[in-house]
């Protein structure tokens, strides 16, 4: 919403300065977004310099000029003036500006195959003189003003632009802004002058609001104005229209716009001679088409609100008028409409048809239903002042009688809500100035809500009005108490926090990537999850909710590779979506590692392999409180891992899947390893298996190491041997370590050798030779019994 101080003065008698008013508006909830110098018709024309006047390739008499208009880059303008030459200072008119001489609106155009962005002007074109030979030549003193308006009409007036919150339609009119300032003590609200003019003839044009289901229109007021001479608006009106950022069109159109911004009362003017017989306000039929003033043709659904005549729709109620009945400079007889359309229906229709207009913006927020007469009066007065003609009486069709809302208000709610005492007198005063009618009752105040405030429903809305006008600076700040009755983080959140820092401490950089992903890439990681598509994605490559953290991590890892970063470890902790319902999501910690072998390092020793990633994963699990003794490692993993170099880690009973790890399948990306920890599973397991640390028993008796080498089938898992050893004697076996895995040489080709060191120690005595050989034999027996292993001799 834009306005000028000058225009505000029509409604508010105040001695406050523009700056004071801006400051105040911010404090009462009418946020000032911008303050710009006022625009007028001529402010588009700027000083420019021809840098080079090149010959036009396709026309001898034309030149193709590189012109400096004070922007970052020079622009190209085609010019036919004989005097256009390098270094000439002149006046430039950009596309969109209107040339005073002929009222022509400039557009970007092609002249003999070359695009011209705007025009260099002659004196006659700017109505400065009759000189039309060649373009204006400015003196060197303009060299410092390139890009600045040539017509520097001195004006201290600014255009103030407000960002009005959707609950305040009343402030989409300057009168509403004035009223808020008045309520906050910034001047007096002027009365709207009563206008009396003769209504010389009877409104005899038939207008009817049809009884339709969900009829959006409940009031349709109109008047006829005959024998006008439509023309260009007078300069005062043009200036105001320009200040709003609109283009003046004709007096009739400019007046309807003027009233809309002045009183927040949208109007529409029809050329009466183009309407066939009568007007009916009705629901549209499916498939009806209508050409709007924006030159587009719309195909309507059923139950949109149209203003129609016998031939079909003339306009979309509250949204946009139609081309067929639009007024022109030659229009003689017109009909002015001031109506009320339902906000919900208006919004829905505009949304479906994707139409934005100043009227729609106002109707969907709620227009004052009692401003119909006021609007028609102001518009007809202005039109006959400018264009002559005579006005009919007002015809007002009304299907629902508007009733003011009544609220029973307990003024104590003000102090109860905001924490400071406000006197009842002050409360009443503020509300009265805002237009609320107040009546003191025994227990409370009876409040009548003004018709222009559709946002006021209950007591709390009135509290807001009071504090808004009083100012939040009057609320006394209360220091928070430093008391904690509940733990800050719950069991799961503690693990989230720990997992994040645990993985980061192992060399991984934490990333945050989109929760969405590219459907094609995501499909490689989707497994059995459903695809959840976003109906209106920001772009097609962010079209689905991610089913894994890998797609985005791999994408960004490769981007970093392209930037020249070889060795990388990235991770993310965040949601993975398992379906499209609220709660269909799990938290995954996903790490990924890649090494480039061509990097030279004088100390490089170890190459990245799966055991590197397994190390990081295992240590993270341990730090998260999972005992190595309570896990089961299997070679089961999803299809996006290398089938032979990957596995899963779960609880011993296989019921809780903690993690997957391994090499990413080479068909997806090369030489990359990763892991995924499923945080909820892990936390769930832990909360069902709470344990405290056992007390520590340290044995001082001698410990002995015994080495065993077993021959096993190639696909036998080493873990089986370890498990078989472990169960032999839990009290004596303190440690088991695989120290060699060997294939080839003197070993049969279908076998491998696994060498294991077992540490044996008793808590009660020093073991002698026979004790040791006894336990050794039991170890061999157990391994041979439980697996296909044979002791190598």
């Amino acid at each position: 919403m834009k306005f000028t101080k000058d225009w505000l003065n029509d409604h508010l008698k105040t001695n406050k300065s523009e700056n004071q008013i801006i400051e105040k508006l911010n404090r009462i909830g009418l946020e000032v977004e911008k303050v710009d110098p006022i625009k007028n018709e001529l402010s588009d024309f700027v000083v420019a310099k021809i840098i080079r006047a090149n010959k036009h390739p396709n026309a001898d008499r034309l030149k193709l000029c590189d012109v400096d208009i004070g922007g970052k880059e020079n622009i190209k303008v085609v010019c036919g003036a004989p005097n256009a030459h390098d270094g000439l200072l002149t006046i430039y008119a950009p596309p969109g500006s209107i040339i005073p001489k002929n009222g022509m609106k400039l557009e970007v155009s092609k002249i003999r195959g070359e695009t011209s962005h705007g025009m260099l002007c002659s004196e006659s074109e700017l109505k400065l003189s009759n000189e039309s030979e060649g373009i204006i030549e400015l003196g060197q003193k303009f060299n410092s003003s390139i890009g600045k308006p040539y017509f520097n009409k001195k004006s201290n007036n600014n255009v103030i632009e407000l960002s009005i919150t959707p609950n305040r339609p009343d402030c989409l009119g300057i009168r509403g802004i004035a009223r808020d300032l008045f309520a906050s003590g910034y001047g007096d609200l002027k009365e709207i002058k009563k206008v009396k003019f003769k209504k010389t003839f009877k409104h005899n044009f038939k207008v009817k609001i049809e009884k339709n289901k969900n009829q959006a229109c409940s009031i349709f007021g109109s008047c006829l104005i005959k024998n006008i001479k439509n023309k260009e608006s007078p300069s005062w009106l043009k200036e105001r229209i320009l200040a709003l950022g609109l283009r003046p069109i004709s007096a009739v159109v400019d007046v309807t716009n003027y009233v809309m911004f002045d009183l927040n009362r949208p109007l529409h003017a029809y050329d009466l001679d183009k309407i066939k017989n009568s007007i009916s306000v009705r629901n549209s039929k499916k498939g009806e088409t209508f050409k709007a003033l924006d030159n587009k043709t719309y195909t309507l659904n059923e139950n949109m609100c149209v203003i129609a005549d016998d031939e079909g729709p003339l306009g979309l109620g509250g949204i946009i008028g139609g081309e067929r009945s639009g007024t022109e400079l030659v229009s003689k007889n017109i009909l002015i409409e001031a109506a009320y359309f339902d906000p919900g229906v208006t919004r829905k229709t505009a949304k479906i048809l994707e139409i934005n207009s100043d009227a729609k913006f106002r109707f969907e927020r709620g227009i004052d239903p009692q401003s119909v007469k006021e609007g028609l009066t102001m518009a007809s007065k202005l039109i006959i002042e400018i264009c002559g003609g005579e006005v009919s009486n007002f015809d007002i069709q009304e299907t629902i009688k508007f009733k003011k809302k009544i609220i029973k208000f307990d003024p104590k709610l003000v102090s109860r809500t905001i924490g400071i005492n406000v006197k009842e007198k002050n409360i009443m005063n503020i509300l009265n100035k805002l237009g609320f009618e107040t009546k003191k009752k025994v227990k409370n105040i009876e409040i009548k809500v003004p018709s222009w405030r559709p946002d006021i429903f209950g007591e709390i809305d009135l509290v807001e009005e009071v504090i808004r006008i009083l100012g939040f600076e009057n609320v006394k700040s209360i220091e928070p108490e430093k008391v904690r009755t509940k733990p800050t983080l719950n069991f799961y959140q503690k693990h989230f926090h720990l997992a994040q820092r645990s993985v980061a401490s192992k060399g991984y950089y934490e990333t945050i990537t989109w929760s969405f992903s590219d459907e094609k890439i995501n499909d490689s990681f989707r497994e059995n999850f459903e695809t959840t598509r976003i109906i209106n994605p920001i772009s097609s490559d962010l079209g689905v909710l991610r089913n894994s953290l890998y797609p985005n991590l791999i994408y960004y890892m490769e981007k970093n590779l392209n930037r020249g970063f070889g060795d990388q470890s990235l991770f993310e902790i965040g949601p993975v979506f398992t379906g499209n319902k609220p709660g269909n999501q799990i938290t995954v910690v996903c790490g990924i590692k890649k090494q480039l072998y061509d990097e030279e390092d004088y100390k490089r020793d170890n190459h990245l392999d799966v055991f590197e990633i397994k190390k990081d994963l295992m240590q993270t699990l341990v730090e998260l409180g999972i005992d190595k003794e309570e896990i089961l490692i299997e070679d089961k993993s999803p299809s996006y891992y290398h089938p032979g170099i990957s596995g899963s880690i779960s609880s011993k009973d296989g019921k809780h899947l903690f993690a997957y790890f391994g090499q990413i399948h080479p068909k997806i990306t090369l030489e990359s390893y990763g892991f995924e920890i499923f945080l909820e599973n892990l936390v769930n397991f832990k909360s069902h298996n709470k344990k405290s640390k056992e007390s520590l028993l340290l044995s001082d008796f001698q410990k002995s190491d015994r080495d065993f080498a077993f021959l096993v089938n190639k696909d036998t898992k080493a873990q089986l041997l370890v498990d078989a050893i472990k169960i032999t004697d839990k009290s004596l076996i303190k440690n088991i370590k695989i120290f060699d895995v060997y294939e080839g040489g003197n070993i049969p080709s279908d076998k491998k050798s696994i060498a294991i060191k077992v540490t044996i120690q008793s808590d009660h005595k020093t073991l002698n030779e026979s004790d040791l050989s006894n336990i050794s034999n039991r170890i061999i027996k157990s391994v041979e019994e439980h697996t296909d292993a044979k002791l190598r001799s």
Partner: protein
Amino acid sequence: MSEFEKKIIAFKEKIKNSKNQKELFSISSEIFGKNGIINSEFKKLGSIPVEEKKIFAASINKFKQELSDIYKAKVNKILDKDIIEKVQKEKIDITLPEKEFKIGKVHPVSQVIDEISCIFSEIGFSVEEGPDVENEYNNFTALNTPENHPAKDMHDTFYLDEDMKTLLRTHTSPVQVRTMLKGKPPFKIIAPGRTYRSDSDQTHTPMFHQLEGLHIDKDITMGHLKGCLNYFIKEFFEVEKIKMRFRPSHFPFTEPSAEVDIGYRMENNKIIIGEGDKWLEILGCGMVHPNVLKNCKVDPSKFQGFAFGIGIDRLAMLKYGINDLRSFFECDYRWLNHYGFDPLDVPTNYRGLSR
């Protein structure tokens, strides 16, 4: 002097003259070994009369001790000499680079969430969460945002179905609804999390982070809201004083509603928070609308309180001088390295937020 004593003297001399470890070790076995002179002398014990045994053994032990002491001293002397010789030969270029220590980084958004949690923990808030996918009711309707209302335009919502019933939450406020529906007042929670809006330009990303705050009790007023936010901003920016301004605004779920600006000034292209005459909008807040309380089965005649929503990414940008919001999600290794935090740098109440 017995034969044994003579041998002892000879060995003492031998130890003294020995030149290296090898020589010493062979002397050692001649003395203390299985067939060394000490053991051989002890073997004589058997043929000695009982009454002399004690004296005899004591004298052997005395000599054994003497030799052992001399021997150990000599060993140490030679070892020291060896080490010194070796050390003198060892000289490396100490300016060669150290072995790479790989410590990762925590994303600034995560760090800021921890900082915020830490501050609110001190004044009794606990952390709540909600799902990223929400239903229309929790995201809008329960929060007093009616269908077909322009207030909805402020949220460019991502929808997951054609009926527009499921969506990606546009703010963390649905966590208020979930928290109140599953519990009983009082409520005192914060809820950080991912939020989504169909918006992408210089200053907007389709995903960003918000922090929701909610405090509902019997007599919580705007004064408490002001105090709470004042405390938070001061703690977060780690400044003594903060210039703050509450500006009336509109959110369907709070009434009265306000936006909060903090004062700042520019110095060498950097933002200095807390002073100056420029204003920066950083959060939205207000008293929870009675309709929201009713929708959440809380009696508005008995309970009232405030709620607020803060852009976490924005706070991180301000505090740590990050210029481009989009860079948060681009995972550039250099950026992560520069703006990321050491995982050991955990914000705590007793240590303070930043080190």
